[in-house]
């Protein structure tokens, strides 16, 4: 059939090759690809053990926000997580060479993996204190919230308003979808964006996420599950005696597009995004997570024995030990755990892993191991394929295959 009468998302082009043509990173290790690459090469880790003690976070490396979010009014309308994400999204658009290209941005898909924004914790704790002192009249909470909440704070907290801010600041408007659900949201955001392009339902997409990990309200939520790493920083593979994650702040976005679309506009690829697979394993019995990872690997399309693995392993148990047991069966694929360097960035961890995989393939070498336990080993040859793994701290498992373009 011809394309002349079909709508943009006709789905008539099966299995188009998809390239990663833009990467935007703004993390605790700095902004941009060179700074990130240098930091990884130097095995640098940026942690703060004091501000939230006994909890440990990987704080965001401050940037000049004006370079990606020029209007101060826009910056003021956002909470930190939105500023981080909008900034990283701008870097990705710059990297792909589409920033300001209204024709492309107007039909560009956007899939964002998001949590929510920070609460006004000063207000929360003031209300709780008053209540503890016996102030429990009907309407007490109403009165405090009506008078205490900043009206626009809601918009800085709403999950879909990261995408909303990216649309406002950068003009990405082809579509706007926000996925929630911790680590799995990041996997599914990439999976759906890839599926749409591969099937011809779309040509180009901006996809990624952001987190501000420097938040006491987030620490409370994860402390409910005893998920936070406490007292002292340790690399992910060295947490066997003290499990948990150190929250990290990061924005990670990718521009992905069909090869035909990239070539038509003369865009250079970092790597090929070949496949993304995901599942929701039952986690009732020991071994179920490992079995799920095995099954995903078998569906991924890994070719031969030359490759590396970049994992978002959290450090939370039992999932980390099961993943480690799975990885031990692929010892020919050197492993890097992003949680060691970047902390756990939740929805953003999988997009971050993909960004690092694409960067690695474009630089032709895997960054050094950063692991005193020796589980991570050096890789001397240039990887041609990287498997990115995201097994959620509580549910959801995903994998992506990223390949070098020779």
């Amino acid at each position: 059939m011809t394309d002349t009468n079909s709508p943009a998302n006709s789905g008539s082009r099966a299995n188009a090759e998809v390239w990663i043509t833009g990467i935007g990173l703004a993390t605790s290790l700095g902004e941009g690809l060179d700074a990130t690459w240098d930091a990884l090469g130097e095995r640098r880790v940026h942690v703060d053990e004091k501000t939230f003690a006994p909890y440990i976070v990987h704080p965001w490396a401050a940037v000049n926000l004006d370079t990606q979010i020029p209007k101060k009014g826009d910056q003021r309308q956002m909470e930190a997580w939105q500023r981080i994400g909008t900034y990283a999204a701008g870097l990705a658009l710059d990297s792909a060479g589409v920033k300001g290209n209204k024709e492309i941005l107007g039909r560009m898909d956007m899939v964002v993996a998001a949590g929510g924004g920070e609460r006004d914790i000063a207000l929360d704790v003031a209300i709780l204190n008053d209540e503890a002192k016996g102030n429990s009249a009907p309407g007490f909470l109403n009165e405090r919230l009506m008078n205490g909440l900043r009206p626009t704070l809601f918009l800085a907290q709403l999950s879909n308003l990261l995408a909303g801010n990216i649309a406002i600041v950068h003009g990405v408007t082809g579509s706007s979808r926000t996925f929630m659900g911790e680590e799995a949201a990041g996997v599914d955001a990439i999976r759906i964006a890839l599926a749409r392009i591969a099937a011809g339902q779309s040509d180009i997409a901006l996809v990624g996420g952001s987190q501000n990990g420097e938040r006491k309200d987030l620490l409370v939520l994860y402390e409910f599950g005893d998920c936070n790493l406490k007292n002292e920083y340790a690399p992910v593979w060295a947490r066997d005696k003290r499990s948990g994650f150190a929250l990290g702040s990061a924005g990670a976005f990718l521009v992905i597009e069909s090869r035909a679309h990239a070539e038509a506009r003369g865009a250079k690829p970092f790597a090929r995004l070949t496949n993304v697979v995901a599942d929701l394993a039952r986690r009732k019995e020991p071994g179920q997570i490992k079995a799920a990872l095995k099954s995903l690997w078998s569906k991924l399309g890994v070719r031969g024995q030359q490759g590396a693995i970049i994992t978002g392993a959290t450090g939370v148990e039992p999932v980390t030990s099961e993943e480690r047991a799975f990885l031990a069966e692929h010892r020919d694929f050197p492993v890097r755990a992003t949680g060691t360097m970047f902390g756990h960035t939740m929805e953003t961890q999988f997009p971050l892993g993909l960004a690092l995989a694409a960067l690695t393939l474009s630089r032709g070498a895997l960054f050094p191991a950063n692991d005193p336990t020796g589980f991570e080993v050096e890789m001397t040859s240039a990887p041609t394929q990287i498997v990115v793994i995201g097994a959620g701290h509580w549910q959801g498992e995903g994998m992506a295959l990223v390949e070098a373009i020779s």
Partner: protein, 426 residues
């Protein structure tokens, strides 16, 4: 036999099961009866004290009890009910073994005030700071709240209960979420990834802070008495939307798969359109271009011309801004037809079910197709001359309806439109 592919060569996506819960009641039968009778589900809030609030009514689902209350628990219950009804009607799969993925529209999740107060009490102090709260959070005492207040918890529960396949997607496109969940299901079937998809949208958000958040943005109606008359879409005296709760669920299948198992076809998901607005966080672009583009995208995706649409299920929130922009958008695309095509707002009766609205209204659109009867826009006593829609005022109307457009627009520049039609005639 009809070709199971549409004019663009894609698998035709049909609906074989529907479920709905709103403030009017549980299930399609009860809802349809009350909806076509012009009944309102809006009532004075009794769930929590309303002292000091400007808005004291909502479309709460009070007949579903959740103790202790949390919006996330209620959302989960409502989603369960709607999904169960939809799957039962469809007759697909075995019990707890739905043969396809789950797409869930759900409100953003966070720890709520009852749990936060519990945490405060756990400090056993009358003077404490946030670090003290953190100190009592761990150790297993509040362990169930970890899972409960993660964003993926409702989807995880539904996936386990109904046995959906693969990684369930929880999504938010604000007040367009329900439509987006359906769109994701349609796309998955068109790609050939799945023969069936379970699309659910749910919202149980009527709690003090959620209401106050909307109130502080001046988005809510304050016409509290009588509550049934508060939502006045397209009326000159409309003054805001009314928060409401509910859930909608659709079982989508490829036409081929549905025919193969002899399923009853309830309607066709003929087209989906979307386009984001980059103008403002809560307001539409004054030129209406994103809404116009969204509506046009839906028509193009369905391969239909504007004149082939014979009913529009409006977003119709009853806010001054939305209804004006919706008229601008529809009239720009439909021209003179915009004054002839019936355009009614279910929200005049069930309120704004927020994350659930797109799916709840898709169910009502399909019931409109099935019964050939258009639910009214109630509380329409003072027409707004700037919005000369045929709003099907106050009384349901029998009509020949073969194709419905259902619109959803949300904060953050979210626009989504669905087009639903009857089963293809063989």
């Amino acid at each position: 036999m009809t070709a199971p592919r549409d004019k663009f060569g894609r698998p035709v996506v049909v609906v074989t099961g529907m479920g709905v819960v709103t403030s009017l009641g549980a299930g399609k039968a009860d809802n349809w009866k009350k909806l076509t009778a012009g009944e309102s589900g809006i009532r004075t809030i009794t769930r929590f004290p309303t002292e000091g609030l400007k808005t004291t009514m909502a479309g709460t689902v009070d007949f579903v009890k959740v103790e202790p209350f949390s919006s996330t628990d209620l959302s989960e219950r409502l989603a369960d009910m709607a999904a169960e009804e939809a799957i039962a009607q469809s007759g697909i799969g075995g019990r707890g073994d739905f043969p396809g993925p789950l797409f869930l529209a759900v409100a953003p999740v966070e720890v709520e005030w009852p749990q936060r107060l519990e945490l405060g009490h756990a400090t056993s102090a009358t003077e404490f700071n946030y670090d003290d709260l953190l100190r009592v959070s761990g150790g297993g005492r509040f362990n169930p709240y970890h899972r409960r207040f993660l964003f993926g918890s409702v989807a995880g529960h539904l996936a386990e209960t109904f046995g959906t396949k693969g990684s369930p997607i929880s999504l938010s496109t604000a007040c367009a979420s329900g439509a987006s969940a359906i769109q994701l299901g349609v796309e998955a079937i068109r790609r050939g990834e799945a023969d069936a998809a379970l699309c659910v949208a749910t919202d149980g958000s009527v709690n003090p802070e959620a209401l106050i958040r909307f109130s502080l943005l001046s988005a809510l109606s304050t016409q509290n008495e009588p509550p049934q008359a508060a939502v006045r879409p397209f009326s000159k005296n409309r003054d805001g939307f009314v928060m409401a709760e509910g859930a909608g669920a659709l079982v989508l299948e490829s036409y081929e798969a549905a025919q193969a198992r002899g399923a009853r076809i309830l309607g066709v998901l003929a087209g989906c359109g979307e386009l984001a607005d980059s103008f403002h966080r809560t307001r539409s672009s004054p030129d209406g271009k994103p809404i116009i583009g969204c509506v046009r995208n839906a028509l193009a995706d369905a391969g239909l011309a504007a004149e082939e649409i014979d009913y529009i299920n409006a977003h119709g929130t009853g806010t001054p801004e939305n209804d004006k922009m919706e008229y601008l958008g529809i009239s720009s695309v439909f021209g003179d037809l915009a004054q002839k095509i019936p355009v009614s707002s279910n929200k005049s009766m069930v309120g704004h079910t927020l994350s659930a609205a797109g799916a709840v209204e898709a169910v009502f659109s399909l019931l409109t197709l099935e019964h050939q009867r258009i639910p009214p826009t109630i509380n329409y006593d003072v027409p707004d001359p700037a919005i000369p829609f045929d709003v099907v005022p106050n009384q349901a109307r029998d009509a020949r309806v073969t194709a419905v457009m259902s619109n959803s627009f949300g904060f953050g520049g979210q626009n989504a439109s669905l087009i639903l039609t009857r089963e293809p005639v063989e």
